[in-house]
């Protein structure tokens, strides 16, 4: 295993290439831009294609087209750019096309966009939220495996810190086992066979009886596929000191690193505090939160937004303990989410206040 000193964006780009990604399309937007830069430089070197799309609408369309040929493909942006892509992301899911999508977000206000989906219709995306560069390298590769396994988009939720932090990482290829054969993918070869393939959000097969699409059949099949995916994807979480915790602190992504430091400092001083970091935001690791909450006096949720993941935490806790929001909308003047609120001392103070009041 060889380690290199890489900026997060470059590490993510290298990890995508290591995972087999051979098509990428994007449109510049801070803090996503450097991922696009690295893919534009690196993909042609490995026989891949990177498209500098005219907008996020076309970026996701190009990635959709490439992915429909079975080519491991990805796109991404910042939350604002992903807003533009939502119509396509919804339809790509209903067309059962595997795709990896990056959100190099500004702060954490895109949690609902990521986990609920900003698009129309009944669909879900798998969402992975790495905390640091080395975990992002792992998650990006896992994302390609999950996308191919479940024929579903997988979102990797990063941020400004992840994109711009330099770390010592290995971007060697990770093995997650074989993915199913992509026998659905298009290459033109079934034309004239009487069974020419179709990839469509309206149906996965042509109807030779001439009756056209049957949306009821298709949407039902998609719902069943989603249910299989939700049952089949293991929810992941990092935990620390939850066995005897009277207060359980929950956070995801970059801020979780600060919350973990605050919790560890409090533990050192004898406070019975634990920490849970959801790694898969969907499927959400509800069970580990529920069992920790059952033994605790209170749960505290830290996010750099107005409180979004807290809804999922409350659904997991189901009244077993009071759930408090200790995060804050945390934006510097740039709006890029550089998060002045990320201060271990400040977070510790808020956690102590919840503990004292519980």
């Amino acid at each position: 295993m060889s380690t290199q000193l890489l900026e997060g964006s470059e590490a993510i780009a290298e990890a995508m290439i290591a995972a087999g990604c051979r098509f990428f399309a994007g449109y510049p937007m801070t803090p996503f831009t450097e991922v696009l830069e690295h893919m534009a430089r690196r993909l042609p070197e490995v026989g891949g294609v990177c498209m500098n799309a005219e907008s996020e609408l076309e970026a996701v369309g190009m990635a959709w087209g490439a992915a429909a040929t079975g080519t491991p493909a990805a796109t991404g942006s910042t939350g604002q750019g992903l807003s533009l892509m939502q119509e396509s992301l919804a339809e790509i899911t209903l067309a059962r096309v595997p795709l990896v999508v990056l959100n190099m977000a500004r702060a954490q206000g895109d949690y609902f966009q990521a986990t609920r989906g900003g698009g129309h219709g009944d669909y879900r995306h798998i969402v992975l939220a790495p905390m640091d560069v080395s975990e992002a390298v792992e998650h990006v590769q896992l994302a390609f495996h999950l996308a191919q396994t479940w024929r579903n988009p997988v979102l990797v939720f990063g941020d400004y810190f992840l994109a711009h932090t330099t770390g010592s990482v290995s971007v060697d290829r990770r093995e997650f086992g074989p993915a199913p054969l992509a026998d659905w993918a298009l290459n033109g070869a079934t034309g004239g066979s009487g069974r020419a393939k179709i990839v469509s959000p309206l149906g996965t097969h042509k109807r030779s009886d001439g009756s056209g699409y049957n949306l009821a059949d298709h949407y039902t099949a998609c719902a069943e596929a989603t249910a299989r995916m939700v049952a089949g994807v293991e929810p992941l979480a990092e935990t620390d000191s939850i066995d005897d915790a009277e207060l359980v602190a929950v956070a995801f992504g970059t801020p979780a690193k600060y919350v973990r430091a605050a919790v560890r400092a409090m533990r050192k001083d004898g406070h019975k505090v634990g920490y849970i970091r959801p790694i898969t935001l969907f499927p959400f690791p509800s069970e580990v939160i529920a069992s920790a909450a059952a033994k605790a006096r209170a749960v505290a949720v830290y996010e750099n937004n107005q409180g979004q993941m807290i809804d999922d935490v409350r659904l997991a806790v189901l009244g077993r303990a009071p759930v408090h929001f200790v995060g804050r909308l945390s934006l510097d003047a740039s709006g890029f989410g550089i998060a002045p609120d990320l201060d271990v001392g400040v977070i510790r103070e808020r956690l102590e206040r919840v503990l004292e009041a519980s």
Partner: protein
């Protein structure tokens, strides 16, 4: 020589009709469709799939369909199909072609899909010289919603949301898309045909063939706009629609080859 047998027109036939020959192109799996009587889109689709077969492209073709009445054909052609969103076929076609350059890629969109919803897609694909063929079925209305004004509706044309006829003061001017595309350096072949007469169908088939050949030769972006009848959306009798097309749409959207890099070179 025997006398010709005269069948009185009012009498019922003595024999049931028998199919002597089926003229359905082999790449149309199911000839029946739910499009309106007099619709021009099946005629245009037929020309396209005949050209695919004649050029020997059947086993490497991927058709990318937009959303409109013609989407019915995404489900009954015997070529591989990628179904796009309304407005988004050129970017999907770009992804397919860039990922698999050995495939033959054509897209099908209507005027609402291509010129209203997703105009920048086709403009950028053309400017990039993307080696795909985009077909636009232009009937000057949103046919699937029942005859509403699009960006190609001609001045004076009555639609459901321009009941007194399109006027420039309120609704602006129609976009003549083929003319716009022809100005872009990446476009190798640009033409506008129509399916309102047998003559025009034959010309349009030649245009589609030339556009497909441009892609096969790797010359860059090729584009054929095809004027199609929509008697339902035009609120005219089915039999009058071909003449209506000639007198109204084709009077503004002129039929002809606007650019041909093979010829102009």
């Amino acid at each position: 020589m025997s006398e010709p047998r005269i069948v009185p027109s009012g009498a019922p036939p003595s024999q049931p009709a028998t199919l002597v020959r089926d003229f359905t192109p082999s790449l149309i799996e199911v000839g029946t469709h739910h499009l309106c009587p007099g619709c021009g889109e099946p005629v245009a689709m037929r020309a396209a799939v005949e050209a695919i077969e004649e050029l020997g492209l059947t086993r490497r073709t991927i058709g990318v369909f937009g959303i409109g009445c013609y989407t019915a054909f995404s489900n009954n052609l015997d070529v591989e199909v990628l179904q796009a969103l309304h407005g988004r076929a050129p970017s999907l076609g770009t992804g397919v072609k860039r990922a698999k350059p050995e495939t033959f890629v054509f897209t099908v969109q209507g005027d609402g899909d291509m010129v209203n919803e997703g105009l920048q897609e086709v403009i950028h694909a053309a400017a990039r010289g993307e080696n795909i063929t985009c077909l636009m079925l232009n009937n000057g209305v949103f046919g699937e919603t029942g005859g509403h004004m699009t960006a190609t509706t001609v001045i004076g044309q009555r639609t459901k949301n321009s009941l007194e006829g399109r006027n420039a003061a309120d609704h602006g001017h129609p976009i003549l898309l083929a003319n716009l595309i022809a100005q872009l350096d990446g476009a190798a072949y640009v033409a506008r045909g129509a399916v309102n007469t047998a003559h025009n169908v034959a010309i349009t088939k030649q245009m589609i063939t030339a556009a497909f050949e441009a892609q096969v030769a790797g010359r860059g972006f090729s584009f054929v706009e095809i004027l199609t009848m929509c008697p339902t959306g035009w609120f005219v009798d089915t039999a009058e629609a071909p003449a209506y097309l000639g007198d109204n749409l084709a009077a503004v959207h002129s039929i002809g080859v606007l650019k041909d890099s093979a010829r102009d070179a």
